[in-house]
């Protein structure tokens, strides 16, 4: 019984330590957040592509390495949301996709949703990977997020390919990875960072 008090203290400390770690991760002192959506598993940061009809159901494909998932876009435009923990300055998007050369593909975040303004950019072809079964094209795009105000804590992305439905072609997506970058935490910017972090809370939205 003499160990009971120690066990009790440990049991109380475990959730407190977990909570401290969660606060640390959410506050993100490094100023770097990477979100990775592979269509196989739901990601808490990235929503599914929508609306249904413009994108087909997620397909599971068996490969030598295991299982991969993919989703086809048949009508333009398509959206997905990223739930951010705070405001970031820059985003680097990396996309695994399959399409022919003539089909246009532009992706970008919303600058102002009420005015329907988007920062659309062409996906710059980077390489073709053989890691997946059929070989995916990998492309990147970079975005400046300084002047973008997310809708609450949601940053909406638009995928555009004008005339996709008329051409009866499709774009296949295999994976989306986005790196969000901002200045790391320092003594000088602590209160500014804290203010920004609080701005993304529901209390702030309720009060404003």
């Amino acid at each position: 019984m003499k160990y009971y008090q120690y066990i009790r203290i440990v049991l109380i400390l475990i959730p407190i330590i977990i909570l401290a770690v969660l606060f640390y991760k959410d506050f993100n002192p490094a100023g770097y957040l990477k979100v990775d959506y592979d269509f196989c598993r739901e990601n808490p940061f990235v929503s599914k592509f929508s609306p249904t009809g413009r994108v087909l159901e997620i397909e599971k494909i068996k490969t030598v390495a295991g299982k991969d998932c993919q989703q086809k876009m048949v009508v333009d435009p398509v959206y997905f949301d990223v739930r951010l923990t705070q405001k970031f300055d820059q985003a680097r998007l990396k996309l695994w996709y399959q399409k022919d050369l003539v089909t246009p593909l532009r992706i970008g975040p919303a600058i102002n949703l009420s005015n329907w303004q988007w920062q659309l950019k062409d996906i710059n072809y980077l390489l073709t990977t053989q890691n997946f079964s059929e070989g995916w094209l990998v492309g990147t795009a970079e975005y400046d997020l300084k002047n973008i105000q997310p809708d609450k804590n949601i940053l909406r992305f638009l995928i555009s390919s004008p005339g996709l439905d008329l051409s009866a072609k499709e774009i296949v997506f295999g994976r989306v990875a986005i790196e969000f970058i901002k200045e790391p935490l320092t003594k000088n910017n602590f209160f500014e960072r804290l203010k920004e972090w609080i701005k993304f809370s529901n209390i702030y939205y309720a009060l404003n």
Partner: protein, 63 residues
């Protein structure tokens, strides 16, 4: 056996309070908990320890 009963009881109450606190924090700042930790897993954990606590409690009463 008495120690196990007490620890089971403690785990149940601590996990219940943890769930309530985490749930409230999630409401205040969406994603703070759910981006990294599935609260449903904690709920399953609570249910298991609630059942164990009830079993031990009943045994105690009948004896």
């Amino acid at each position: 056996m008495h120690l196990i009963k007490k620890i089971t009881n403690d785990i149940f109450y601590i996990s219940l309070i943890t769930y309530a606190v985490y749930f409230m924090l999630e409401l205040l700042k969406e994603g703070l908990i759910s981006n990294y930790f599935d609260l449903n897993l904690l709920l399953i954990f609570i249910i298991i320890f609630a059942i164990l606590t009830i079993i031990f409690y009943d045994k105690k009463r009948t004896s």
